[in-house]
Amino acid sequence: MRWRICYFPSVLQLFFLAIFVALPLIPFPRADAAPLDANTIIKRVEDNLNGKTAMMRFSMQVKTSRSLRTIKMTSYAVGKQKSFIRIDYPGRDKGITFLKINNAMWQYVPRIEKIFKIPASMMLQSWMGSDFTNDDLVKESSLSRDYTTRLQAETTNQYTLQLLPQADAAVVWEKIIMTVSRKYFLPMAVKYYDEDGKLVRVIRYLNVKKIGTRFYPTHWLVIPQGTEKSGHQTIIDITEAVFDKPIDNNYFRKTALRRFSN
């Protein structure tokens, strides 16, 4: 019997070949396939974290190797530029308010009845004894504006973004690496590096819950690196959040500091 030297598929075989081999290669428009530009990703992340307006109640636990303190606060924010925070607990600090407008921050302390502006020299000091700095509160939302974002890697679950500061940006971090959840477009872990390339801080965003129409991480862990901060941690738990409801503009004037202190 002579073996056939070349195999020529029949028309039917060609047809089935097309369906089973070629078709899956045609990109389906998938529900979550957005244009994967790094800038788009970071903007969506910021929008998801901030909303047009946001009212939140949260508790902050400041852990050190010697102590554990809890502070409860309420915050009101409009976009990225204006926010107002009031301390509700503990009793000693109740009524302390903070107002942030653009890059300036004021504080009111009821027990000494004084309002003062946080000067630039104090911007890197810790905020309320936590692992956040005053600068963090003032600059938290300007990542897309102050940094150039690059998509470093992606897997089925997450994107990894690399943020490097723009030439003229007055920022503290020389590099930020952010892993973003593809499902929610929320940050999962953000790593902050200083000008020596040293990892200074890691913030993890956990416990994503549905709040209203959006998903939001309700448990944040701020972990400073470096041996001098060993044992330190700041934990934020968001107990209540309302997004995109109009907020009284009076919250974002200097009069608000005293007026909404209690």
Partner: protein, 406 residues
């Protein structure tokens, strides 16, 4: 015999001898006085810097100098006092709690250091009380009263009797704030210090800062400040590895090095001057010796060996040299001794000095016989070296040449 000949020659060439002696004596006196003044004023500047606030001996938790955070405080001041009481050589002890706060007065907010001190002890450990300018210094019973630097008071635009507030972080990382009354204003003369520090009674501050029985450092005044390092060693052995006691030489090593560098530059300048003087003496000796070529040629012709000529001429220089450094030494030493007990006073300018940030209004010299002896030896060696070339030069001539030398 050489000595007799040398002395005869010295007396014979009077002008040369006098000029050489004058030059060398002047150099000696200059060197002695300059090094005494340099060392003296550096010591005074160091003493001023140390005594204004930092103190002669500082005890901190072992990591505090590298990481000055609330995790590295001294957490049991009372226990520390007990341990230190058994160590001899300590004249006074005081605890301090230093922290960085925001000062707010009227419309001005300024960052600076606020420290809780023990007023009575502090009086012996630093010059805070002596630097009082307006109002009064703190006392042990004070509550929310603040004693602040003149520059800081100016920035905040407060005077004695006004109020100002501070906000900061307590030792337990809690938020801390209170209102203070300005009790006094000080001026130490150190700009940086006067512009950014303020003091309160530690007993009051411990309450506001949740810092009871805590301290950022403990300052010790040794009975003998020049033995601070040795005392620090003793204290380290007694306290163990948890703490670190540092004498001022180590804790202010930056300033010590700056003074040493200044000395180096001073000595370089002096060296240049002495190089010039060396050449002047050499040339003058050369002129004189060459002028005696005939005489030396005569001696050579009569059988004096070059070696003997060398010894004879060298003896002259040696005697002249010893005489001059003796005179110079007396003169320089006298000046040094005088200014040691009566330092160069720039008083009358003390106020102005303070405004320029200089604390030393009096520059003393140090009177140390060893230093004087060292300086004398240096100049003597220099002057002897100055003679070597001229003598060699004259010895190279042959006797007949020398005789016919003009």
């Amino acid at each position: 015999m050489f000595i007799k000949i040398a002395i005869k020659n010295i007396c014979a060439y009077r002008k040369r001898s006098i000029i050489t002696v004058a030059l060398t004596a002047f150099s000696t006196a200059l060197l002695i006085f300059s090094s005494a003044l340099m060392t003296g004023s550096h010591n005074k500047m160091l003493a001023n810097a140390v005594e204004v606030y930092p103190g002669y001996l500082q005890i901190t938790q072992k990591d505090f100098r590298d990481v000055p955070s609330y995790d590295n405080l001294i957490f049991d001041v009372k226990a520390m006092h007990r341990k230190l009481s058994s160590i001899p050589g300590i004249a006074a002890i005081g605890a301090r709690f230093e922290t960085f706060v925001l000062f707010a007065a009227e419309n001005k907010t300024v960052g600076g250091m606020l420290a809780g001190i023990e007023p009575k002890n502090e009086n012996r450990l630093s010059r805070l009380a002596q630097s009082l300018k307006e109002g009064s210094y703190l006392s042990d019973g004070d509550a929310a009263q603040v004693y602040l630097g003149v520059g800081l008071a100016k920035k905040l635009q407060v005077k004695v009797g006004d109020t100002l507030a501070f906000v900061g972080t307590g030792a337990d990382y809690s938020f801390s704030a209170d209102i203070l009354y300005v009790k006094g204003i000080f001026q130490t003369g150190s700009f940086d210090f006067d512009n950014s520090t303020a003091f309160v009674n530690k007993a009051y501050f411990d309450d506001a800062m949740a810092a009871e029985n805590y301290a950022t450092q403990i300052i010790v005044l040794p009975q003998n400040p020049s033995k601070s390092d040795a005392l620090a060693e003793q204290i380290n052995q007694q306290l163990g590895t948890e703490y670190q006691a540092l004498g001022w030489r180590k804790s202010m090593d930056g300033l010590v090095e700056a003074m040493e560098l200044d000395s180096v530059f001073g000595y370089i300048s002096l060296a240049i001057i002495f190089l010039v003087i060396f050449f002047v003496i050499m040339i003058y000796t050369l002129l004189n010796i060459m002028g005696r070529s005939r005489e030396i040629g005569m001696m050579r012709a009569l059988g004096t060996t070059p070696g003997q000529v060398f010894i004879m001429l060298w003896m002259e220089c040696l005697i002249l040299g010893m005489l001059s450094v003796f005179i110079g030494g007396l003169f320089g030493g006298g000046l040094t001794a005088y200014f040691h007990f009566h330092p160069i006073q720039l008083s009358g300018y003390e106020e102005q000095f303070k405004q320029y940030g200089l604390m030393a209004a009096a520059l003393p010299t140090v009177f140390r016989p060893i230093m004087i002896a060292r300086d004398i030896l240096i100049i003597l060696t220099l002057s002897l070296f100055a003679a070597i070339y001229p003598i060699f030069k004259v010895n190279r001539y042959r006797p007949l040449e020398a005789i016919h030398h003009v």
